[in-house]
Assembly symmetry: C3
Homo-oligomer: 213 residues x 3
Amino acid sequence: MLHTPPASLLLLQLLNLTGIFVFAISGAMMGVRKGFDLFGVIVLAVVTAVSGGIMRDVLIGAIPPESIAHWHGVALAVIAGLLGFRSHRLIERLNHPVLFFDAAGLGVFAASGTQKALEFWLNPFMAAVLGMISGVGGGMVRDILAAQIPVVLRSEIYASAALIGALIVVVGAHFGLPPIETTLAGAGLTFFLRMMAIYRHWTLPIAHTNRDH
Amino acid sequence: MLHTPPASLLLLQLLNLTGIFVFAISGAMMGVRKGFDLFGVIVLAVVTAVSGGIMRDVLIGAIPPESIAHWHGVALAVIAGLLGFRSHRLIERLNHPVLFFDAAGLGVFAASGTQKALEFWLNPFMAAVLGMISGVGGGMVRDILAAQIPVVLRSEIYASAALIGALIVVVGAHFGLPPIETTLAGAGLTFFLRMMAIYRHWTLPIAHTNRDH
Amino acid sequence: MLHTPPASLLLLQLLNLTGIFVFAISGAMMGVRKGFDLFGVIVLAVVTAVSGGIMRDVLIGAIPPESIAHWHGVALAVIAGLLGFRSHRLIERLNHPVLFFDAAGLGVFAASGTQKALEFWLNPFMAAVLGMISGVGGGMVRDILAAQIPVVLRSEIYASAALIGALIVVVGAHFGLPPIETTLAGAGLTFFLRMMAIYRHWTLPIAHTNRDH
């Protein structure tokens, strides 16, 4: 690792913390909207921020999971939850910035989750799937706890953007490219695809049927 | 294993793949009905096909779980999901064949899940419970992700049929009967009970109350 | 352990069984209300009773989880589920006793879950979080399976009471106090806070917003 530029590593860690923070904010906003009390809002914030990574760690056998073994992630998510509870009106007006950070978090979680899965076990296709789970798992659990169909499954390019970024990491590892740069590239691509989906209304096909939703 | 007839083993593996395929189809159909996009439909298909086995493997400590360690199951479920997305009208007309395959999948997953639990750890009652979880877990997660009460809990003999088939495997192992034949017998019994529940409307009692469902 | 009074240990084990029993009853009542059949009611009873502990054990790496490794807990929950199915009218009239036992179960599970997490791994803050998960996890899964927003997140002091009791255990361990007494003290405090929340309508703040619940 000595030969990797410290700036890239720092950027990656910063983005990871950003990911925890914005996912926690999105959980807190959901909790406020559903009328949860202060503690419920904080719990939902924490669960949203850490569930994706916990799923990945349980499935690859990294026990105890990262966010259970260290208290930093949970503590940051608690702070984000408090902030979300106090400033939910302000954050609602900041809708676009939140989507921006959420897309950044998605990219970082998917790419660094893939990196971790590759370290534990090498089948590249499944490593990318685990990266995708790291990225989308938190949002799925948030929506399940709010008794809603996960937006991840229903809406514009989201899980698919995470998978594509994860595949970049896998391809980079296959060709022996430096891991931090590859992770940043994968995260960047996921971020780009997600933002395009939001602003250009990129979508995937939907089957024509008489839906009951 | 050399003394077991290859035909039985082949049949079991074939049924296992059939189970993955039909559970994936049932997930895809749910996704189409709920208006998910193509990728969401595929994700729901995969999750439905592998969740029961993943729960079992996490609980018995078989980490990484079978469907994470190998890509074949996920790949087959992706194909089934694509097929479900493209041909949902056709499959809806094939309602009875789908129920038929679903019952077959339930039987195979419950019986082979019990077999695997016995290999890892020997308390027979809990091995049967884990077999039941292998059989019904995927459908439960599918329904949770669709924000519905799991049909497994609510409807005709389903989880109970899985448990009875699982108990056959446990009894067979207790008397030292050959595992593949016992597994086929357990799977067959679950299949039979489930089909009877569908065609003869066999049901278990429901408590009389003022329900709010 | 020889120096701990047998009476305290016995009391703790008795309370633990009580916790399993009352959580199972609460699951069975939910199943009856939603119109599940007999087997569905029993499954929901068992799942409610054991999910919190299973989450804790999976996250700390105690595999197979306690309630999978031994059949006693599941068997007791099955009996409670049967009782809940048969006597739901009676139990509904006993509303206050059920809340009383549920609060006792919450306290015991949170405190003894924290104790177990401390045995496996020492970060005290996260041990308390895992204790809280042990206490509230079962009720969350029960409500998810009933397609409802978990009451744990939405209502009066519940998860917060569990966390405070868990923190007592952590503080006690830090000062080297005898574990069984500390566990009883933590469980007692959680129980007291929960009962106060019910009878005195203690609540935590809710953010003012246009909720959609």
